[in-house]
């Protein structure tokens, strides 16, 4: 899946990127069913990144420049990562996570949001 995603990025083929999205989401649901919660959550932002890049590439009818690919994939990963962190936080809150872990997760969340804002501007 990672290879498919990377190949789509390097060759800038929208079809490969969209295929990578469906593979990531399918794998995430499978991993979730097997109980690998974190693995499932890691694959979702990657899938969302492939989804955004693929859609933009198809729509523009032109190969996206490398800085555009970098920016979009970074933003998509960041937006997905925020949700993934909230999910981990939510699951671990139920498992009564210790204070340092909670602090670390909160700081990471804030850092991602700040980076997203900077990248957008």
């Amino acid at each position: 899946m990672i290879c498919l995603f990377l190949l789509g990025l390097v060759l800038r083929k929208p079809g490969l990127l969209c295929l990578a999205f469906f593979s990531f989401v399918g794998f995430a649901i499978y991993a979730l069913a097997l109980g690998h919660f974190v693995l499932a959550l890691i694959s979702v932002p990657l899938g969302l990144s492939a989804w955004d890049l693929g859609n933009l590439s198809i729509w523009s009818k032109n190969k996206l420049p490398r800085p555009a690919i970098f920016l979009t994939s970074l933003l998509s990963l960041g937006l997905g990562a925020v949700g993934a962190l909230f999910a981990i936080l939510g699951k671990n809150l139920a498992l009564s996570l210790s204070s340092p872990w909670l602090f670390l997760l909160g700081a990471t969340l804030w850092l991602i949001l700040w980076l997203l804002k900077r990248a957008w501007e």
Partner: protein
């Protein structure tokens, strides 16, 4: 898929995940939907800030040029907004086609330079087609950025000697036409006649008096301007199989019109294609520009109204004026051309013939020889009917082909 469609699809996916998690009582699936939710919500919120204020500007090296000259242009797309945007720009039809995608930062600009050698014609440029999207693709805009321009590409012309005309009716203004009315005033020597009472004694020909021992005065003629119509045949039927001759015809029409205008004549233009394009006889630089602009837009078009030139209305050419007909030499048009001469118009024909080509195929060679014989036959019939006609195949300069019809030739003979 971008914009509203993408938004709706992601929302449906999120609702499906949540519904499945709730129905199956699977809390992990509910938490699993959080990355989708954050992607959708944060992406939408951030894209709301994204409103690029795009502006396009265009510069051209020259809005008017002659075919064969280079035209350099620049299109600048500026992002007046604060946020960066993905932009795609497609332009500049019908002059040039380019397709670019780039990231424009806030207050940034994308400059596209191009240099082309356009063909003759009038190009109306509306503006580039631009699309802009936010980096994640939740907001898009596409449309044509208004920055209109017009580029006139005149046909190429050559410096040629003006064909000599001596039409029956000339204008009062001086020009290059040989006047048929000789008199005691004028510039060029015409002849002599016996002295009559009232003649100016200063015009007496003293040498003739000494020889004949009778009073003789000199007669002069004054070159006058005439009304001359340049007719260009652009009917598709006339050029069947030899479409490249149209460019020669346009070059000849432009060159001859300019030479006639420089000679002081009133020149009109009639282009016969799908319909009739007519420019009233006039003079001056603006008129020359008008003629060249009309010639720039000439295209081969089929016509049903004018199967032969005999159907052309005579109102276009004033009585006793001159006509320069530029057309492919075909036997079908000979009778029409001879009938023009019969109507008292001074006719001059520039017959366009294809240049000789050596082909490997014997049949093709034979066909070409037949075409050439047919053109020569048409030419001889025109000559026999008293029409001044010359062939031109574009290999030799136009000036050389027109030399037999020009003043220089006649003077050198004299």
């Amino acid at each position: 898929m971008v914009g509203r469609k993408k938004l709706v699809l992601e929302f449906i996916l999120l609702i499906l995940l949540l519904a499945t998690g709730l129905i199956l009582g699977w809390p992990e699936l509910l938490l699993f939907s959080l990355p989708f939710a954050s992607h959708l919500l944060l992406g939408t919120l951030l894209s709301r800030e994204f409103r690029p204020k795009l502006q396009a500007e265009r510069t051209l090296s020259s809005p008017r040029l002659v075919e064969g000259e280079n035209l350099s242009g620049t299109i600048t797309l500026k992002n007046r907004g604060k946020h960066r945007a993905f932009v795609g720009i497609v332009g500049d039809p019908p002059l040039i086609q380019f397709d670019r995608v780039a990231i424009l930062k806030g207050e940034g600009e994308l400059r596209i330079n191009y240099e082309i050698r356009p063909k003759r014609g009038l190009y109306r440029l509306s503006g580039p087609y631009v699309w802009a999207a936010d980096p994640v693709g939740f907001w898009v805009w596409e449309g044509v950025m208004e920055c209109q321009a017009e580029v006139w590409v005149y046909p190429r012309t050559e410096r040629v000697p003006a064909p000599l005309f001596s039409p029956r009716i000339t204008l009062a203004t001086p020009g290059g036409a040989k006047s048929r009315c000789a008199g005691p005033s004028g510039i060029n020597f015409y002849g002599t006649r016996p002295f009559l009472l009232g003649d100016d004694p200063r015009r007496l020909n003293w040498k003739a008096l000494a020889r004949r021992e009778e009073l003789v005065i000199n007669l002069y003629e004054e070159p006058r301007a005439a009304v001359i119509t340049v007719i260009l045949d652009a009917r598709a039927e006339a050029y069947a199989g030899q479409e490249e001759l149209l460019e020669l015809g346009i070059l000849a029409a432009g060159s001859i019109s300019r030479a006639l205008l420089a000679d002081g004549h009133r020149v009109g233009l009639l282009v016969l294609s799908g319909g009739v394009k007519w420019i009233n006889p006039g003079f001056g630089r603006h008129h020359a520009e008008k003629i060249l602009l009309t010639l720039a837009q000439v295209e081969l078009q089929p016509t049903e109204a004018f199967p032969t030139l005999a159907f052309l209305p005579w109102e276009y050419s004033p009585k006793g004026s001159g006509i320069v007909a530029i057309l492919p030499l075909r036997k079908e048009e000979v009778e029409s051309l001879l009938s023009w001469r019969g109507k008292g118009l001074e006719l001059l024909v520039l017959g366009l013939v294809p240049p000789p080509r050596e082909s490997q195929d014997e049949l093709e060679n034979l066909a070409e020889r037949f075409l050439r014989v047919e053109a020569n036959l048409a030419l001889h019939r025109l000559w026999a009917g008293g029409v001044r006609a010359v062939p031109w195949d574009g290999k030799a300069p136009l000036g050389l082909a027109l030399r037999p019809l020009s003043r220089e030739k006649l003077w050198s003979r004299a």
